[in-house]
């Protein structure tokens, strides 16, 4: 059980997302950096889909109302447990009354606080993620506020040891090392590379537009959030004006409204749309967008369907190996 002492406006409860209700108009929600959430749960030996707190705006401060193991993954935000510094991608044991403070991140955009057992909020339509438009799921269907008290799901007694974490805790290397994807840095700005599969209206863009699409560094504008990232760069010109009938879309779809400036739809995006689609950021790389900050740049790398599937398998393999390594560590500690 924890109490929120300080939070920005957009800290939310998220799991891996809500699938299976798209046909009711319900978007997926879920962690913007699904890899950071998955690793937090691996560190604690949780269910893979256990819910955690996504913290995009810092500082963030909580009090532990009971002793528990916890993990911090995602952005490195100079966290402290009382006065003890905590490295990023780390899990630790907290005693009752201790205070955890997350500071301003040195890099990346979102931190994830995972608790042993996972957060105990009701599953709604198969997920604990906060559905912002529908005001359901997560904690009371809304972002967290000061004085909120969140409980964790109790583990069956004897199933797992009280704490499988040594006094100083343990951690893993950031996934950027295990799953590297490099884009040439231009003008010293941080550039995130993501792989993209061409989508329905790809062929409707001029040759010049496609050249720009693959070669430009796309700046993430301040109008970017969990709903989508609005990008700024050269104008992408279509051969003709495209009017689409409303159809289903998924997180990662890159739409181009008439302004010619692309928008990447993300986890809180609506599940349907009508703007032309030039491409889709592949599922395996969406976590990289979740850690891209406003003002930074994005580059698109073209891949085939087969390469996109292989990238997803590589990510799943990476998580499986990490799970095995962490299990050994937890066994050694317990």
């Amino acid at each position: 059980m924890i109490e929120i002492l300080a939070t920005g406006a957009l800290s939310t409860v998220q799991d891996l997302g809500r699938t299976g209700s798209l046909r009711f108009g319900v978007g997926t929600s879920g962690a913007m950096d699904d890899l950071a959430l998955a690793i937090g749960n691996i560190l604690l030996g949780n269910e893979p889909n256990a819910a955690a707190i996504e913290v995009p705006i810092l500082p963030f401060k909580i009090r532990f109302l009971e002793a528990t193991d916890f993990a911090l993954t995602g952005a490195d935000c100079g966290a402290r447990l009382d006065t003890q510094e905590i490295p990023p991608w780390w899990c630790l044991h907290a005693d009752k009354g201790q205070i955890l403070t997350l500071g301003v991140p040195k890099s990346d955009a979102r931190a994830y606080l995972t608790l042993a057992g996972g957060l105990d909020v009701a599953e709604v339509l198969g997920s604990r993620s906060t559905q912002m438009r529908g005001n359901f799921g997560g904690f009371e269907g809304r972002p967290l506020k000061k004085n909120d008290i969140l409980r964790t799901i109790a583990r069956a007694p004897g199933l797992t040891p009280h704490s499988a974490i040594s006094a100083s805790g343990f951690g893993v290397r950031p996934p950027a090392f295990g799953l590297p994807l490099r884009a040439a840095s231009q003008n010293g700005t941080t550039t995130t590379a993501v792989r993209v599969l061409p989508a329905g209206e790809y062929e409707s863009y001029t040759e010049g537009a496609l050249e720009h699409f693959w070669h430009a560094c796309w700046k993430v504008t301040p109008q970017s959030d969990r709903y989508g990232y609005r990008l700024e760069g050269p104008v992408l010109e279509a051969k003709t004006v495209i009017e689409k009938r409303s159809h289903g879309i998924v997180p990662g779809v890159i739409q181009v409204p008439q302004s010619g400036q692309p928008i990447i739809q993300l986890r809180d995006a609506q599940p349907s749309g009508g703007y032309p689609k030039i491409g889709t950021v592949i599922e395996a790389d969406i976590w990289r967008l979740g850690q891209t900050r406003i003002g930074e740049s994005i580059r698109f790398l073209k891949v085939s369907y087969e390469e996109a599937v292989a990238a997803l398998e590589e990510k799943q393999r990476y998580l499986m190996q990490l799970r095995q390594a962490v299990q050994l560590q937890r066994k050694a500690n317990s």
């Binding site: 699938t19 798209l22 319900v26 978007g27 339509l125 989508a199 409303s246 889709t280 599922e283 599937v309």
Partner: protein, 214 residues
């Protein structure tokens, strides 16, 4: 027809021809067929199109593309015996702030627009956009009004609006690029139910003129 990938998460089938009820019935039929297809987590109808969301990316994507193509050619129309629901609407006033814009665009009077909007029996083609929202087919093209250049940041739930050749009712408060002409009281979504949306594809909606505020 057009079949395209949405990354490794989904595939989109877009039917050729008109956006009409006969084509939409074939989409409903395809949705039923493909919802139990291997690797498909959900079949999501749109406006004469169908998205199949994946549990995991199918190894044989070409096989699925062929199956979609063949299914469209062979598919019979699925007649859904939907319910018929009447929604009382207050047109104009605070709940219909853009009725004047529809007047300006169409050159019709308020009364003409209201009567043309309330005349048809609309069919729910599909749900999308936000929880419980229905895409309706059957609006009179004479009151079609282009989407707004600048979307409205927050419209209340129950807003009856026109976007291009389509009309619909927002199920909860949120941003919209459509022109809002009226307001209705109706609960469209209850997340505690296994069938959370109040309407399903095939249901029919009639807007009853409750009041016209000029």
């Amino acid at each position: 027809m057009n079949i395209s990938l949405l990354g490794t998460s989904a595939i989109l089938f877009e039917a050729p021809g008109l956006m009409d009820i006969r084509h939409q019935r074939r989409i409903w039929s395809m949705a039923r067929r493909f919802s139990s297809w291997p690797d498909v987590s959900e079949a999501v109808p749109g406006m004469t199109n169908l998205m199949l969301a994946f549990k995991q990316p199918p190894a044989d994507i070409e096989g699925l593309i062929c199956a979609l193509r063949e299914a469209w050619e062979q598919e019979a129309e699925l007649e859904i015996a939907g319910r018929q629901i009447e929604l009382p609407v207050t047109y104009g006033g605070d709940g219909g702030p853009h009725l004047v814009d529809v007047v300006a665009h169409t050159g019709l009077s308020i009364d003409e627009i209201v009567h043309l909007h309330a005349a048809p029996l609309y069919t729910v083609y599909a749900l999308g956009s936000h929880p419980g929202y229905c895409y309706l087919g059957g609006m009179d093209p004479r009151i079609a009004t282009p989407r707004r250049k600048v979307p409205v940041v927050r419209l209340p739930g129950g807003s009856v609006s026109i976007g291009g050749a389509q009309t619909g009712v927002s199920a909860s408060a949120g941003p919209s690029g459509w022109s809002t002409i009226g307001h209705t009281e109706m609960i469209f979504f209850d997340s505690s139910k296994t069938q959370p949306a109040s309407f399903s594809p095939g249901d029919m909606i009639r807007f009853r003129i409750d009041k016209v505020i000029k």
